[in-house]
């Protein structure tokens, strides 16, 4: 991916970031989203086919992707373009701030694109309307087919500038696409951009596949496949499509995840009715047993520094969440609330563990600190599980299933995301039913 995508960041202007007035507090939720005007990118007259409608449309498409990203955060309120008074090209040079203030905009995004010699150059600026000043000015050069990714990168830069957090728009989500009746469900690995675009199917649906997870560089995916009816952990290279079995032990290997350095896979291995946690070094293929208990130990997830592991065990009698050192020592139960706890997954920031909780017939997605304190339930539903963190640790994506009637009518499985404040719960539209989402890290770091 990286090879075909060169980003050239040119700092067009020295940007003064010291005293800006706009700031979006991401911990607030969406009580009062920031009004932002995203002016369509105008086409530089020096472009090839300057008058071509397609070229003009590209500017509008890019700004609409940016706008959609902002709206999806719940933190921004992109203003209606009909109200814009200044032409995009003039605004990009120097906005008349009083005009933008009139339509309540507090931030303004302007931009320009130059399409020349099969190269697309996009420059954009972010303006603080209240303070009458420029906040960022950046330019990217890429191939025209990469316009969508540039739109996401621009979104990330603006989000970062306004919230002080790293962005998450230039990312993808891998998930399991589901079709057909419940008793004969067809499942395929699918991948899409974070905003639901560019869906691609990575397997054909001939065998059951579950729980795909990215490696830290987003090139590999580890997942469970029932190829030849042998449930085993596999590795898939997204670019080449090459699949290989990694957990080929006599028994079942499942619940795989990468270590934060990408060198190991941690997974469950079930044999003779007992599931324990193992790691496999991908280079040396050395296998190490991490837990040894007669109960079920599964759903392991590393802390971002790789020093700890959180996992799910029923050693106390029912499903609870535990942590331990990465060598398996120092096992500590951290969930003590009323109910069952599953699918612990460590935040990329290291402070929180997200989980699924089952209590009195309802399913919750929640977070707690890694010592088990400060449990917060974010959303309640009939069935939902398997949270996965956005790379900036601000959102969780998970899947939700609806209650089925007789013969399974009304059953759906969909992806949802929620901010860890508990706000901005929204469905991520997928072409088919979907489950087991896993969020990539930022594609361009």
């Amino acid at each position: 991916m990286k090879k075909i995508f060169y980003i050239l960041i040119l700092f067009l202007f020295k940007f003064n970031t010291a005293y800006s007035l706009i700031e979006v507090d991401i911990t607030r939720g969406n009580l009062d989203p920031l009004p932002i005007a995203v002016s369509p990118l105008h086409v530089d007259p020096q472009s090839d086919n300057y008058q071509d409608n397609k070229t003009k449309e590209l500017g509008e498409l890019i700004s609409s992707v940016v706008e959609k990203n902002f709206r999806s955060t719940g933190l921004f309120n992109p203003l209606n373009k009909d109200a814009f008074v200044q032409k995009p090209d003039i605004a990009h040079l120097k906005p008349r701030f009083e005009d933008w203030r009139l339509i309540t905009a507090q931030a303004l995004v302007t931009g320009k694109l130059l399409l020349k010699d099969e190269k697309l150059k996009i420059e954009f600026r972010l303006w603080d309307v209240a303070a009458n000043k420029e906040m960022i000015a950046l330019a990217f050069t890429t191939t025209p087919s990469n316009w969508r990714r540039v739109a996401h990168i621009i979104s990330d830069k603006i989000y970062e500038r306004l919230t002080g957090e790293s962005g998450y728009f230039d990312t993808r989500i891998i998930y399991v696409s589901e079709t057909g009746p419940r008793t004969q469900r067809v499942k395929k690995l699918a991948i899409m951009d974070q905003d639901g675009e560019n869906t691609k199917y990575l397997t054909l649906g001939n065998e059951l596949v579950l729980t795909p997870r990215f490696n830290p560089t987003n090139q590999l995916v580890t997942y469970l496949s029932y190829f030849r009816n042998l449930p085993r952990v596999y590795l898939l290279d997204i670019e080449t499509g090459i699949q290989e079995v990694v957990g080929n032990f006599p028994g079942m290997t499942f619940a795989p995840r990468f270590s934060p350095d990408g060198k190991k896979i941690i997974m469950s291995f079930a044999k003779n009715g007992n599931s324990d946690i193992y790691t496999m070094d991908l280079e040396s293929r050395l296998v190490e047993k991490i837990t040894e208990d007669s109960s079920i130990d599964t759903s392991p997830s590393y802390s971002p520094d790789g020093k700890y592991i959180t996992f799910n065990s029923d050693r106390s009698g029912l499903q609870q969440i535990y942590t331990m050192k990465s060598d398996g020592s120092g096992v500590k139960r951290i969930s003590f609330g009323d109910g069952l706890y599953g699918t612990p997954v460590w935040s990329p920031r290291g402070d929180l563990i997200a989980f699924t909780k089952v209590r009195r017939g309802k399913f919750y997605i929640g977070v707690m600190r890694s010592d088990g304190s400060g449990e917060r339930l974010l959303t309640e539903n009939f069935y939902q599980e398997a949270p996965s963190w956005s790379p900036n640790g601000r959102l969780l994506v998970f899947y939700r299933e609806t209650k089925a009637g007789k013969n399974g009518q009304g059953f759906t499985a969909k992806l949802w995301s929620i901010d860890i404040t508990g706000y901005n719960e929204r469905e991520l539209k997928t072409e088919t039913d979907a489950s087991d989402p896993s969020w990539s890290s930022l594609l361009s770091k």
Binding site: L21, T27, S275, G342, L377, A386
Partner: protein
């Protein structure tokens, strides 16, 4: 649009309110006694009088008296039909997390396997596979359906 630290306090209040409301809206639905399926609606037969499956309680892998009876009949059928090998397919219901269900269903199928072994069936004739919650026999979201889906099914391989 400038925010100060007071917002953080407000946020904490908001979050706790949300968490509380989330808790208070959870409906009570206590489980009623044993929830092991005892009917025959989904059951198939390996031979006359030999049921192909046993059922389990929620989150459990223990065999009931009825399950042991079924497995003893399977064992005696296997002793009579020495060329037959079987695979035990373990399953869970939709009310658990996927990965835990995979482990639990593996445990259920192995509970059935262990019982067959104690009745003299060679381990070489029995393989085990877990399908977790992936292959329900009844696709409704009802306690009856869930009880029919928590099962270990003995399937002939040859």
């Amino acid at each position: 649009m400038k925010f100060n630290k007071k917002i953080t306090n407000l946020l904490i209040i908001l979050i706790s309110t949300f968490a509380l409301s989330a808790c208070s809206t959870a409906k009570k639905s206590g489980t009623v006694g044993s929830d092991v399926y005892s009917g025959t609606d989904t059951v198939e037969y390996l031979a006359s009088g030999v049921k192909d499956r046993v059922f389990f309680a929620t989150n459990k892998s223990g065999l009931t008296t009825a399950s042991r009876d079924t497995l003893r009949k399977q064992a005696s059928w296997m002793r009579k039909n020495k060329k037959i090998n079987v695979v035990l397919e373990g399953h869970g219901d939709e009310r658990g997390t996927r990965e835990y269900n995979l482990a639990l269903a593996e445990k259920r199928a192995n509970a059935a396997r262990d019982y067959l072994l104690t009745y003299g069936i060679s381990g070489k004739r029995i393989s085990v596979i877990s399908y977790g919650k992936e292959k329900p026999v009844n696709s409704a979201s009802t306690p009856l359906s869930w009880s029919q889906n928590r099962r270990s099914v003995t399937v002939k391989t040859k």
